[in-house]
Symmetry: C2
Subunit: 220 residues, 2 copies
């Protein structure tokens, strides 16, 4: 191996090794020694890149977030030039669930990170920041869908965004085999069907009068 290995590349190799360990055993009892072993380097080499376990975990979380972003980007790219917001939200939501190996590692790391956040202010701030960023992206799609007439104008974008994010609760149900992958996808689709119901936009009726009130969503 050449002496001048690209630092970012090496850090990403380590992050991927960390994911594999998390995938196998969860993040709670993760040690730097295990990650070094998985990455095929010495503990000393690993410590050259990350001064502490939490530094390593934070980098792996950030890198996982970037990778998720890239995967969502690719999924959205495949939807064509003006994708339906329903398909955009579906792609974003499904990527947050442990439905394939990389997403599962991300989901498990996030869960461990949230637990750490309960008694570590710095982790709390980081985890909160990442979630708020994700929330803002989803809310932007919802707001644009309302503006473009895809969603009824009486939908509250903040409430709809919260409900979409809350569906990440499927992560636990999937991990514990309480709900299978197909059932989780079906449920997400049902939620999106209902969210987009009662507007003319399903037929591509852009800019139509979106003041539909057939759905009593604002009641209660």
């Amino acid at each position: 191996m050449p002496k001048q290995v690209d630092h970012q590349e090496r850090r990403e190799t380590i992050a991927r090794a960390l994911w594999r360990v998390v995938e196998r055993r969860g993040a709670t009892h993760l040690t730097m020694r295990e990650v070094a072993q998985e990455a095929g380097i010495s503990l000393g080499q690993l410590q050259h890149y990350f001064g502490s376990r939490s530094q390593m975990l934070s980098f792996a979380m950030d890198f996982a977030g970037e990778q998720s972003g890239l995967r969502v980007g690719r999924a959205l790219g495949a939807l064509g030039e003006r994708p339906h917001p329903r398909d955009v939200l579906r792609a974003m939501l499904l990527e947050m669930l442990p439905l394939h190996a990389d997403a599962r590692a991300t989901s498990r790391m996030s869960a461990a990170y949230v637990l750490e956040a309960l008694h570590d202010e710095e982790v709390h701030a980081r985890a909160r920041g990442a979630l708020l960023q994700g929330r803002a992206l989803v809310e932007e799609v919802v707001r644009r869908a309302i503006a473009d007439g895809y969603l009824a104008a009486d939908r509250d974008p903040a409430v709809e965004t919260d409900l979409l994010l809350a569906l990440t609760g499927f992560a636990t149900l999937l991990e514990l085999d309480v709900v299978g992958p197909a059932a989780a996808r079906t449920a997400v689709d049902r939620h999106l069907d209902r969210l987009f119901a009662a507007t003319g936009a399903a037929t591509g009726n852009l800019g139509a009068d979106a003041d539909a009130d057939a759905d009593a969503g604002a009641g209660g």
Copy 2:
């Protein structure tokens, strides 16, 4: 203190001490020594009741589940003799979220338990069993609501149950201050509004023809 303290009572005292520690610091780094200190007993006395940390955690989880059940029971009792299934589901759902101290401790313990489950088959089986039990209770309410005409007959009870359970995803959003308690309640209400929309049952029209299809929930 008399020598013959009731064993179950003492175990519950310990469980409550454990909740308080979890509430303050999370369950990840929880030690038996901390719990003993919080309960005002010696480590030796604690070990008399629980042979290991995981035994102690399992008892605390079971006890938390029982207490949640009692709280839901009291909430349902307050709804009168023939409560609307919307109110029943609302009471069950809100109790699963960290909206008050006891529910928060339960929610945090559950989160830690799920992480342990990823690399411990016994914990996986226990956690899965508890969740399946909760899921069955929710599905029973949904099925009865359909049978009684409160919910449109074309609602799929399994899918609706999965969606309701997935809303426990609000736990993370609440813990990280991404969504506030009022917003979480509003979102749960919005979901229930939409679930119960488009049937005549909101006006107590029991046994009416529930074949409503104004809501395109079954679309693709």
